[in-house]
């Protein structure tokens, strides 16, 4: 398999910048695999996991919280708000975030007068927490 350059860039720095032979992403329209010499392509990503295959036949899984992917001729760039390798996820923290946001959402549904924006934020947080737990578990 041919390697190609893959970059994952987050606001806190360049998370990954190395050669890869294939990457599987979750876009808004479904899972997509990208190999070397893929056509020029751009898509929005959802909260989910990505799998990167390395030239030495190993692979790693990471959790990302949405973003975009841009396939160019010489490199593929993934832009995301946050990215964590599956083995580096703090499971305890994720569980904590999960229970906290669940409680928050429950309190929102109980008093229906709550702010729509707050609700969106809480939902987004819950989705991220669930994703992190999912990625770390499997």
């Amino acid at each position: 398999m041919n390697p190609f350059k893959l970059q994952i860039v987050t606001p806190s720095g360049v998370f990954f910048d190395d050669m890869s032979v294939g990457v599987v992403l979750r876009t808004t329209t479904g899972d997509k695999g990208i190999l070397a010499r893929h056509e020029l392509y751009a898509a929005a990503l959802v909260i989910g996991k990505i799998k990167i295959n390395f030239p030495d036949k190993t692979s790693r899984v990471a959790a990302i919280s949405g973003g975009v992917v841009n396939v160019e001729k010489d490199k593929t760039v993934i832009l995301t708000q946050s990215c964590e390798w599956s083995d580096e996820i703090d499971l305890e923290r994720a569980e904590l975030a999960k229970t906290q946001t669940e409680e928050k959402l429950k309190s929102f549904t109980e008093n229906s007068s709550s702010d729509q924006r707050e609700l969106c934020i809480a939902e987004f947080k819950l989705k991220r927490a669930l994703n992190r737990i999912d990625v770390a578990g499997g």
């Binding site: 606001p11 806190s12 898509a43 929005a44």
Partner: protein
């Protein structure tokens, strides 16, 4: 007379010394914070640049003229995101940004809406009767991406809903430790005119469509620029404070030297006087 004067000078030296100690400490704190802040700003930059590049690519080449984010409307209401510090004592850092905002909207009939980042920003715009719709005090030091997304989502929703027709961000760019410039950056609507006349044909395949990707990118783009702007402004703030404190320390040092000279002179005068008295007393006998 001379001894009273000496006491006063001594007291002043003491007070200037303690002020110097404080400014020196603040300088050290600011310089260590500045290093960290600069690092953070540098880390955030590639994300912003990649985002900007991609946004431009779609906006220039791939026919998203129909998107609500590129369409030009008559500008009636504007939303300004203003980034400044939580504390003063940083030279012209805060006031430079405020001055720029004031100059920007002095011809407007309606004052712009403001999203204020930093305690000083909140104080200033509330005092001057602006409509401050969101306040973020103590935001820059422990910056989290989540808060930025809050701002981005608010701005996008207000723009989409027609409440505002333009969103700009005011912040300070870091040129060097000695120079920082207040800057205005227009977030939306995104400019689509290309100078080249003919648009480059793009071969990129957008999934599902350029518009869909574009609309997904916009909030993220706003987030990234808010994040970047805050990081950069914070680095500037620390740098400006370090410079301000450095010169304050220098001034205090200068003052201590001058006062010491004065003190020594007064002391010498007093001694001379005493000798004179003794000598003339001895002569009288």
């Amino acid at each position: 007379m001379a001894s009273g004067n000496m006491k006063a000078i001594k007291r002043r030296i003491k007070s200037v010394k303690s002020t110097k100690q404080i400014t020196k400490a603040m300088e050290l704190v600011a310089s260590s914070k500045q290093r960290k802040a600069k690092q953070r700003a540098e880390n955030a930059r590639p994300y912003f640049e990649a985002q900007y590049e991609m946004l431009n690519k779609i906006a220039q080449g791939d026919g998203v003229g129909t998107s609500v984010f590129t369409k030009k409307r008559e500008i009636k209401n504007r939303l300004f995101v203003v980034v400044a510090g939580d504390r003063g004592l940083a030279g012209g850092y805060n006031s430079n940004v405020f001055k720029m905002v004031a100059a920007e909207c002095k011809d407007d009939t309606a004052k712009p809406k403001i999203i204020a980042i930093g305690k000083k920003t909140i104080d200033y715009f509330e005092k001057n009767g602006y409509d401050v719709i969101q306040k973020y005090p103590g935001f820059a030091e422990n910056l989290k991406v989540g808060y930025c997304s809050d701002i981005a989502v608010t701005a996008v929703n207000m723009f989409k809903g027609g409440e505002v027709d333009e969103v700009s961000i005011f912040y300070t760019t870091f040129v060097s430790s000695l120079q920082q410039n207040p800057t205005k950056f227009k977030l939306v609507p995104v400019d689509t005119e290309s100078d080249k006349g003919s648009k480059p044909i793009s071969l990129t395949d957008y999934d599902p469509s350029p518009e869909a990707v574009f609309e997904r990118i916009i909030p993220q783009f706003l987030l990234s620029i808010v994040f970047c702007a805050v990081c950069e402004s914070y680095a500037c703030e620390q740098s400006a404070r370090r410079i301000a404190m450095e010169s304050a320390t220098d001034n205090a040092q200068q003052m201590i030297e001058d006062l010491s000279l004065l003190y020594n002179r007064a002391r010498q005068e007093k001694i001379t006087n005493e000798i004179n008295e003794i000598v003339s007393g001895a002569n009288a006998i």
